[in-house]
Point group: C2
Chain length 138, copies 2
């Protein structure tokens, strides 16, 4: 199967596409010659990862009848100073909030996403070091 | 330097974050248990790439005093059928529209982005095969 995105140049250095029925706009900040009309593209790599593994984990937890009060996926990425400015390491923090959450099930859900289901993790781990942390807040 | 994204679980399997002042929402489609409130996360990998290299190219062309009438960056990605469903190859099509566009300068701008400036290309090419095509339409 193929996935395709077609981004059109719309203004100065801004681009726009329709992604699965949702409009996405990328742009540079004003200091770099853009108008800040949308996302900085490189950071979309982080939301791709957080969203992909987050959706997996919450789907798996639902099957396990585990429902946290709150759940955040925080991705921290190291960026090089030199061109091409790119990510060399990512840390994914899975932060669950809730009373008496079963730590083993949370760990299992995260592991299943990272090793079996998340297609974004599968690509990034070929290119850089990936670290995982699970935080449980009562 | 570090880049950070913090995505919060908001609904069924949807997540939301603030990215550089812009709200981003990811969700699964209805068939997969989501509500289609936002982007499918894996496809954000494609818009990250199209946007990153598109912004580079249009900035470089501006310095070269080259202005196309229209410019699209189309990314076609091969996805595996098996889990983890991930991209194994991407083709980036740079499609310029305009009369008497200088092909050599367009090629140089694309090459500079792909080899020197685009931090998304720098990561993806460590993980998969990347192909480039330049199309010029009068």
């Amino acid at each position: 199967m193929k996935h395709v995105v077609d981004m059109s140049w719309t203004d100065k250095v801004a681009f726009e596409a329709d992604m699965d029925g949702h409009k996405i706009v990328v742009d540079a900040d004003k200091e770099s010659g853009g108008s800040d009309l949308g996302y900085r593209p490189k950071r979309l790599m982080l939301s791709a990862l957080a969203g992909c593994t987050g959706i997996d984990v919450i789907m798996i937890l639902k099957k396990m009848k585990v429902e946290p009060e709150a759940f955040n996926v925080i991705v921290e990425a190291d960026v090089t100073d030199e061109h091409p400015k790119h990510y060399t390491k990512m840390k994914v923090v899975y932060q669950f909030k809730g009373k008496d959450l079963p730590a083993e099930k949370l760990e299992k859900a995260v592991k299943l996403s990272e090793e079996k289901y998340c297609g974004v993790t599968a690509v990034y781990k070929k290119a850089m070091e990936m670290e995982t942390e699970i935080r449980i807040i009562e």
